[in-house]
C-alpha cells in the first residue's frame, strides 16, 4: 500500500514537472514581433528581404555616401519610416521591428549606434524633439 502511494505521488510530481518544463520552454525564447505598420508590400518579397536586407542596405550605403545617390528604395530612412512602431516611433525597443527579430536571431545590430532609430513623423518626431532639447 505504502509502495503504491509513493508510485502515485512520483507519477503526479513528474507530470507536474513536465508541464512546468513545457511552460518554461515556451517562454524562454522571445518570439519576434513582426508588425508591419505601413504599406501593403515591402520593396522586395518578404522572403528576399528576410534573407538579404543587410546586403541591400550595405550596397545602398556605399552608393549614398560615396556617390551621393539618395535612392529611396533601399534607404534606411525609408525602412524606418514604414517599420517604426507607431507608439514609440522607433524600430528598437522590446517590440521594435528590427530589435525584436535581431534579439530572436541573436545577431548584433550596429546601424543604430550612429543612425537614429526614430521616424521623422508622429511619435518619432516627438522623441527627436525631446532628444534635441536634452542636448
Amino acid at each position: 500500500m505504502m509502495r503504491f502511494a509513493i508510485a502515485v505521488l512520483a507519477a503526479v510530481l513528474s507530470v507536474a514537472a513536465l508541464a512546468d518544463g513545457q511552460r518554461a520552454g515556451a517562454s524562454r525564447v522571445a518570439m519576434p514581433t513582426i508588425k508591419i505598420e505601413k504599406g501593403e508590400a515591402c520593396v522586395a518579397p518578404t522572403g528576399d528581404m528576410r534573407r538579404n536586407h543587410m546586403k541591400y542596405l550595405l550596397h545602398q550605403r556605399d552608393r549614398t555616401v560615396h556617390e551621393g545617390l539618395r535612392e529611396p528604395r533601399f534607404s534606411l530612412k525609408q525602412c524606418i519610416d514604414c517599420h517604426a512602431d507607431r507608439a514609440t516611433g522607433s524600430v528598437l525597443g522590446e517590440n521594435g521591428f528590427c530589435a525584436s527579430c535581431h534579439a530572436y536571431a541573436a545577431v548584433k545590430l550596429d546601424c543604430f549606434e550612429c543612425h537614429t532609430p526614430l521616424r521623422e513623423t508622429g511619435a518619432g518626431a516627438a522623441a527627436m524633439r525631446k532628444a534635441a532639447k536634452a542636448r
Binding site: 555616401v65 560615396h66 556617390e67 551621393g68 529611396p72 521623422e120 532628444a131
Partner: protein
C-alpha cells in the same frame, strides 16, 4: 571615318555649341538640384567664399551648423565636436584683430585622404571631402594631417542624431558642407543663417560654373586660400584677410 562616327561628332559639336552660347550664357543651367538617381559629378566643385570684412561679431553660422547637424557639446571644448568655429587672428605688432569662420576647407588635394589607412576619408566627385563612418576605424591620422584642425573625434556614445546626419562613437567627423542639403539643391546651413542675418559674409556655389556668382567674384575680386603655401587648392576661399 565611317559616316556614323562623322554624324556623331557633328551632333556632339552642335550640342557643345548649344550648351554654351557665350561665356556666362547657357541653355542648360549647371547648378540645379540633382535627382536622387543622379550621382555627384566632377563637373561641379562646391565651394565657399567668405568675406571677413562682412563677418560680424556673431556666431550664427556655428549655431546653425550645430542645429542642422545635431552637434552637441559636453562642456569640454578640448574634445567637443566643432565642424565650424570662429577663429580670432591678431596681428602681434599692431594688435589688429579679425575673426573668421573656419571649417573643413574641402581641399582638391586633401591631406586627410592621403593618410587614411582604410579609405574612409575620401573626396566626393563634386569636391566635398567626407568621412565614410562605416569604414572609419578611429585612428585619427586625418585629425593630425589636417592643417586647419578641422576634424574632431567622437569620444562618447551618442543618441538623438539627426536622420540625415548619422554620427557615432569612435569615428572622426568634420564639416560635410551640409551634403544632405546640397544633394537637395539647398545651400549649407551656415551660409543660409549668415544670409538670413543680413551679414551675407558667406557665399556658396559651384567653383567650376563660370556663370555662378562665386565664380564671378573669385574671377573679379582678390581672394585668398588659407595656407596657400601648402598648395592644397582649397574649396573655401577668404576675402579681406
Amino acid at each position: 571615318m565611317s559616316p556614323d562616327r562623322r554624324q556623331f561628332l557633328a551632333w556632339g559639336s552642335a550640342a557643345a555649341a548649344g550648351a554654351a552660347l557665350a561665356p556666362g550664357l547657357r541653355l542648360i543651367e549647371l547648378v540645379q538640384a540633382r535627382s536622387p538617381e543622379a550621382a555627384a559629378s566632377a563637373l561641379e566643385r562646391w565651394g565657399l567664399l567668405i568675406d571677413i570684412a562682412k563677418c560680424s561679431d556673431c556666431d550664427v553660422c556655428v549655431s546653425a551648423c550645430n542645429e542642422e547637424n545635431g552637434l552637441s557639446g559636453h562642456g569640454r571644448p578640448q574634445t567637443d565636436a566643432h565642424w565650424i568655429r570662429k577663429v580670432e587672428l591678431r596681428d602681434k605688432r599692431t594688435g589688429y584683430a579679425q575673426a573668421l569662420p573656419l571649417m573643413c576647407q574641402h581641399c582638391a588635394e586633401p591631406p586627410c585622404v592621403d593618410v587614411c589607412p582604410t579609405g574612409a576619408s575620401f573626396k566626393r566627385d563634386d569636391g566635398i571631402v567626407l568621412v565614410d563612418k562605416h569604414i572609419c576605424i578611429g585612428c585619427r591620422y586625418c585629425v593630425m594631417a589636417c592643417p586647419y584642425g578641422a576634424r574632431t573625434f567622437v569620444h562618447e556614445a551618442l543618441s538623438g542624431q539627426k536622420p540625415d546626419v548619422p554620427r557615432g562613437k569612435g569615428t572622426v567627423e568634420s564639416c560635410t558642407l551640409c551634403v544632405q542639403r546640397v544633394d537637395r539643391g539647398e545651400t549649407p546651413a551656415c551660409v543660409q543663417a549668415c544670409n538670413r542675418d543680413g551679414a551675407s559674409a558667406m557665399l556658396f556655389g559651384d567653383l567650376n560654373d563660370d556663370a555662378s556668382e562665386i565664380h564671378r567674384r573669385l574671377r573679379s575680386e582678390p581672394s585668398r586660400q588659407l595656407r596657400a603655401d601648402l598648395a592644397l587648392n582649397t574649396g573655401v576661399r577668404y576675402q579681406g584677410l
